[in-house]
Amino acid sequence: MTNIPMTDIQTDVPREAQRTPILVAPPRRHRRWRHQEGQSRAVVAASAIIALALLLPLALLALDARDAGWGEIHQVLFRERSLFLLRHTLVLSALVMILAAVLGVASAWCTERCQLPARRLWTMLLVLPVSIPDFVVGYAWHSIAPTMNGLLAATLVMTLGTYPLVYLPVAAALRRANPVLEDTAHSLGKGRFVTFSRVALPLIRTAVLGGCVLVVLTVISEYGAFEILRYQTFTTEIFTEFQFDPQAAGALSVPLVLLGLLMLGIDGMLPRRTVSSTVSAAPRRARGPVRWRWSVAPMVLALGALVVLGVGMPIGTLGYWMAQSQHTTLPAATTLTSATWTTLSYSAWGAAIAVVTALPVAMMTFRRTTAPRVILDRVTYITRAVPGVVIALSLVFLATRYAYGLYQTSVLLVVAYAILHFPLALVCVKTSVAQASARLFDVGRSLGASPVAVFCRVALPLLAPGLLAGFCLVFLTAVTELTATLVLVPIGVQTLATQFWAYQSEVAYGAAAPYGLVIVVLAAVPGTLLGLWFDRERHTRVSLT
């Protein structure tokens, strides 16, 4: 899964920190600021380089398309097949989006607004599908019920995999929304449903729509699950074409990228903050231990079913095939270890690069509104719309055309991970940078600390959690990444995902299972860390208000 809904924390940064650079025109800087101007110039330069690197895939795609020539593009795109793929992609996206929105909003409502026992456990379980790659979910269903194919199967698998993308931002929005508003609606004589539709829903609308955009972006860039379930979309077609006719693959990427950009455009048009009154952050009320009431039983059953389907089913199936294969062919432990090691190191490198490059960009975007800042914001934003397969293809194109030495090396794969997941790293780092306001650095300096000391004693402690969270998030998504990995992995090297893929393609479900299980475990660890970080975020926010 490549998209995690973290747009919500972007709006979670203290209001003060968000507004200052935008609303308040900074005083003209005089000579005594030159020192910082110099710093800022370095940041601008670094950011510009990073922005160019991020634009690389799109530029290469354009070059590729130009090389292929209009005739080729025309031939590939304007045929019945393309229409068929477009319809397939759109129908599936729409179905999954609607279902994920319903499930996400309903479960967020249950955990945030109802007297649900063991609320935190439910929250954790409901988010867990993020750590299970969709191709593993597809494998789980298909290996148990081989007749599960086509649209309905794809809808089921993708819905179960993507509803957390709606759940997370909506739960955050509900937590942020002042519950007093809903109390007031009750006191004005309105029941639960009217209150939900007329008060709560307008408040979480942006979060719901933002989550939906992420769901669609995920669906249109998914490859593995659809290949298993035999459902063709643009991405599966691009992948197939890539093996025979790379230029056709390039041509097919154009409408896919346009679709992604369209979704991004929709996302960009959403109001980032709903019109907020001067009402400050929601007052936190003490929650006593929740007493069991029979009225929540249907809710618990429904959420339980969702968790069983979304988490229990894939993990159970992996376990089942593991048990089955005990006396047949378990893969050699050495292959498993080496694949694990490869996955770990690739993902860690990709995550480290993404986080380090995100830092200057994050510092940049919280400065005053200048042309470079705006351009940079847009560029980093655009990357989110480019599916992994397109980034991979463009890097293959780059290597084969301009840097053959890089072709089939791990460098290319790590770079692909970094570019692909850069937006995720940026979101986390931005949150931290926003909290570490320049005023704190000034205070540090005024207390007699040297710039280095300020960096170590003020900046680093404030930034570290965000950097770590960004690392975890990118690491998690890189471990579960399949599409770009299949395209770029050097010959002879196996990662967990590619090995899993190879075995399951040969219907060696038992042999594939351990790889799937290790992927889930590796992804669940940073997932848990992230959960902790989010909780911490909530605490700091409370103390800031």
């Binding site: 002042n178 007031t184 006191s187 004005l188 004589g189 307008p202 006593g288």
Partner: protein, 353 residues
Amino acid sequence: MSAIELRQVAKGFGATPVLTDVDLAVPDGSMTAVLGASGSGKTTLLRLIAGFEHVDAGTVVIGGQLVDDGCRAIRPQHRGVGYVPQEGALFPHLTVSGNIGFGVPRREQHTVAQLVDLVGLHGLEQRFPHQLSGGQQQRVALARALAIHPKVVLLDEPFSSLDASLRDSVRRDVTRILAETNTTTILVTHDQDEALALADQIAVLRDGNVVAAGDPRTLYRDPPDITAATFIGEANILTAHVQGDQARCALGTVVLHTNGSQTNGAAALPGPSRLLLRPEQLVLHLQARANTVSATVVDSQYHGHDTLVRVALDDPHCHLLLARVSGDLALTPEQPVWVEVRGSGRAWPIRME
């Protein structure tokens, strides 16, 4: 008749008790202020009356109807209680009219215009909350609560978020509107000046209990005990010896008043007592006179209309006393003054503490 009656109400969250044994009766058409420090359970009390929380024990009666007895509770939407939360909490996605008309049935929507006029927001009907000033938001929140013709209106610290300059006028507006509509009101506040100025009845909430209740004048002049005395207004507490209707203390002999509402005879009980004198009962003179005690100025806080002066008596105990003097009187620390007591005091025997 009481519009609201709470009897032996108890409420806790988890293991922490918030309200232990609250009795409160709010007369029809009056404004009752619940005065308490932050964390004393004021907001919880309001939320229990509104029905957002349910009592653990005790009963809540609104307009003669039992709404919560610890077992069964009527839902908030069926209680007819207007709730004005802290800082207004307007629906950010609705206009002024939309907010005020939220609880009004469709066929009665024309009444919204009257309410807009009532709170003096004519012409702002189509504004959104973020386009309003704090005072305007507060008035919209009030109109929204009044729109459902509530049996009672609950105000949760309605003025605390307003600027000092705005607070007075909004307070005046709100009390006028509530008086015009003859609405029973409970106002929760931590501001004793506000409670004294606005309420017909004050209930002092402390550690989950109503420790004192009564009309503002009585509570200030004739509080039931020392705790209540120190909670409402500034207080000087001196040890004294009561004999008859007089008390001897470090300031000389002070007459006690016994005509208060609480005629428990405490003032007349002879023996060692504690004596309450309000700061405005102490008069400072720059020269020695009859019936004065010499003291030294410690420091003073200038408020414009008056000055609060701390003085230390020149006796072996160095009693620290607070005096309210005219703002024109300029006093410097270390300056010698002479203290005179005006009016009568209130005393409680020490063993009753």
